[in-house]
């Protein structure tokens, strides 16, 4: 029987080393895939954004910050950015508010909880393209459900080509996005509500707090982590939105629903300006990152 060799502080024991190696063995393949499919293209995109390239020519002409300087004077970019901001604000607040409201209503003991949860979550399992096609039919100017209902209740003057009217197209798209996303918010909030301390709610009730006060001052603060996560997701999604817009309006009518992602696609693929498109995608990435970072930092500071 021999005594085990002493392990110096800071040194790993052979057993720990084996465990660490096994850990790396599991992590490295995923890391390589991540590096190959995400990190590498990201750095390539940065490089392309500094070139004037049509996507086919063997020569990528280096233009330095030329594309970024051009971006500043591109009125279509600013218009698209404005649409993204509208999308981020309405498209973030609405599904979370609806999800929260429905979640709390059902959490408080509504009958048929499982049924409602299934119904509300249903849109989340549909792909964006399917959702876009369904809503294209709903908004259809000739025989869509929206116009049929309006005509049916005598509001003919309100019936219109929702996706073809510059005044209504963006809001119509947002309605679709909200419908497709509130179910996700609802389910996550429902999960968060399982951890709400009931005794605090009961204490607030005994102290005379009404329903609204209990909701705002007792329940919502306990959901802060869940709400932070959903909001961060939604903010990023708001800047990256593409599928619904592309399938339903292609950014139209005209440029009334053009967002940064569809504008990037148009420049890079339809107009063969890959360098400029890459610069646009960098702007989109920076906006998503910056907004999410600022939001999460603010939340953390508030909690501290």
């Amino acid at each position: 029987m021999t005594a085990a060799a002493p392990v110096r502080r800071g040194q790993l024991s052979p057993r720990a080393k084996r465990k660490a190696l096994a850990g790396w063995a599991f992590v490295v393949p995923a890391l390589l895939i991540y590096a190959f499919f995400f990190v590498q293209p990201f750095f390539y995109s940065i490089y392309y954004s500094l070139t004037d390239w049509n996507g086919a020519d063997p020569v990528k002409q280096f233009v330095g910050l030329g594309n970024y300087i051009k971006l500043a004077g591109d009125s279509l970019l600013w218009q698209a950015l404005g649409h993204n901001l509208i999308w981020v604000i309405i498209g973030t607040v609405s599904p979370i508010a609806i999800g929260l409201l429905l979640g709390v209503l059902i959490w408080t003991g509504a009958l048929g909880r499982v049924l409602f949860r299934t119904i509300y979550f249903l849109p989340v399992v549909l792909s964006e393209v399917v959702i876009a096609i369904i809503w294209n039919w709903i908004y259809h100017p000739l025989f869509g459900a929206v116009n049929q209902i309006l005509r049916g209740i005598g509001l003919d003057h309100l019936a219109r080509g929702w996706l073809g009217d510059p005044q209504t197209a963006l809001l119509a798209l947002l309605m679709t996005a909200i419908w497709s996303y509130y179910g996700f918010c609802f389910v996550i909030i429902m999960a968060g509500l399982q951890n709400v301390d009931i005794s605090l709610v009961e204490a607030a009730t005994i102290d005379g707090a009404n329903g609204w006060q209990r909701f705002i001052h007792v329940i919502v603060p306990q959901l802060s982590h869940v709400l932070t996560m959903i909001t961060a997701f939604t903010l990023i999604g708001g800047f990256n939105v593409f599928g619904i817009v592309f399938v339903m309006t292609q950014g139209g009518p005209g440029t009334a629903t053009q967002v940064i992602a569809t504008y990037t696609y148009r420049k890079a693929f339809q107009e063969s300006q890959v360098g400029y498109g890459a610069a646009l995608s960098m702007v989109m990435t920076l906006l998503s990152l910056a907004t999410s970072y600022i939001f999460i930092r603010l939340r953390e500071r508030q909690e501290q």
Binding site: D57, P253, E271
Partner: protein, 447 residues
């Protein structure tokens, strides 16, 4: 417990490794579904030269699939595999650049499409193949001209087409109307139809591109063929008064007069065809690619007639004519000779009937329409193209650079939606053309 866990990990790794090795081994020895070899029993297998073709006809296109089968049967040394691509514009450049593209591709002929590939050196020049197969004797000059860039020919344009007005003959007869001879007559026809609660013209522009054809019709008839060619070539400004009027009449005046269905920007191209099929609309301004649909009794039982949009202020009309797309050969084609042979076969006597009778598409060859069993409407279209080839105008969007096209498509939706005036759109078109001139993507089509 921990021992058991360690064994489990090892077992897992052994199992994974074994499974991977097995999959690799099986993959190495299992033959593919179609090896493209001639494996006739008793004879040594002959390795066929593979030709991968990408086109945009749809996977189930019976006519094109039939041509491929015929080619493979007639050419035992080659094997064509056809793949229908719905997003060719997104993937073709990257695929060719990466050396993973098709050998033969059916792609848009404009300077913003095949022109970009040609200038990047991704396409094979076909001048020698034109000589080798004597295509000049068979194929119409326009099919070569439209697929040539900087003096070099890279392809064969296909799908000859014209744009004009299809009309429901039953409705016209019932209303006592006749095909109009002048623009004023046309407006009178629209008024008469409108008075009977019939939509004069079905138009869906949600897809954006249909407006490009409307603009092609009016600018050809108002500015004339030569001026239009000069504008496409960047030699005449797009904000000249004739072009402003070519925007004002169809996109503002006729919209305001109620000569189209409502919600033009929200109705798709297919839905506007439905309005025409159902008899709710009496006319459609579109291209001859719809002949097949308009003569199909499953779609419409009423007889359909055709006239070119009539003369405006007694000017000579120049109805748009052009080519849909074209066949090109990739620079890295595995078998250039096989690719040329396939192109030759596509427009040979053996396949003309497939294009005409099977797909109602007009191939770019000299032909006698009476030799084929086709609809009167298609026969009429062929004869018109053959007789009036010299006076025909242009489908603008297949000749103009891509940034011009996006400005054209977005801008016309804005004009229809009253976001922009005709003059503003004309100014924007000119600005887009100037940008394209700077980028060197303009095609010179002046004589």
């Amino acid at each position: 417990m921990s021992t058991s866990l360690r064994h489990t990990r090892r077992d897992f790794l052994r199992f994974s490794g074994g499974l991977s090795a097995s999959i690799l081994a099986v993959a190495c020895v299992t033959p593919g579904a179609d090896t493209g070899t001639d494996d006739t029993a008793g004879e040594p297998a002959v390795e066929k030269e593979q030709i991968l073709v990408w086109d945009q006809f749809g996977e189930d296109s019976v006519g094109v699939n039939e041509i491929v089968v015929k080619f493979n049967e007639a050419h035992p040394e080659y094997h064509v595999t056809r793949e229908a691509q719905t997003n060719m514009r997104d993937i073709l450049k990257t695929s060719l650049d990466a050396g993973a593209g098709p050998d033969v591709m059916y792609y848009d002929t404009g300077p913003g499409f095949a022109g970009v590939l040609a200038r990047a050196g991704l396409l094979l020049p076909l001048d020698d193949a034109y000589e080798q197969y004597a295509w000049n004797e068979r194929i119409l000059p326009i099919a070569r001209e439209r697929a040539s860039f900087d003096g070099v020919t890279y392809g064969i344009g296909n799908e000859l087409e014209i744009v004009g007005t299809f009309y429901n003959e039953r409705i016209f007869d019932e209303q006592g109307l006749a095909a109009p001879d002048t623009h004023d007559d046309f407006l009178a026809v629209c008024e008469a139809l409108k008075a009977q609660d019939i939509i004069p013209m079905a138009w869906g522009n949600q897809n954006k591109w249909p407006a490009g054809h409307t603009f092609s019709v009016f600018s050809g008839n108002i500015a004339g063929k030569d001026n239009l060619a000069a504008a496409i070539s960047g030699e005449l400004a797009w904000n000249e008064p004739d072009f402003v009027e070519s925007i004002q009449i169809p996109f503002v005046d006729m919209v305001d007069a109620g000569y189209y269905n409502t919600d033009i920007n929200a109705v798709t191209y297919d839905d506007s065809n439905l309005l025409f099929y159902s008899g709710q609309a009496a006319m459609r301004l579109t291209g001859s690619w719809m002949v097949d649909g308009y003569t199909n009794p499953d779609n419409i039982t009423d007889p359909v007639g055709f006239f070119f949009y009539p003369s405006i202020r007694e000017k000579v009309i120049a109805p748009p004519a052009g080519l849909g797309s074209g066949y090109f050969v990739g620079r890295d084609a595995q078998s250039p000779e096989g690719a040329f042979a396939y192109l030759n076969f596509l427009f040979s006597d053996e396949t003309i009937g497939d294009w005409l009778e099977g797909m109602a598409m007009i191939p770019p060859v000299r032909l006698n329409a009476d030799d084929y069993s086709i609809s009167d409407l298609l026969r009429f279209t062929i004869i018109e193209i053959q007789q009036n080839a010299e006076s025909m105008g242009f489908n603008i969007d297949v000749l103009t650079p891509d940034n011009y096209n996006t400005m054209m498509f977005d801008g016309f939706q804005e004009v229809i939606g009253k976001v922009k005036t005709a003059q503003e759109q004309a100014d924007d078109l000119e600005a887009a053309m100037q940008e394209a001139i700077e980028r060197g993507t303009v095609m010179d089509i002046t004589p």
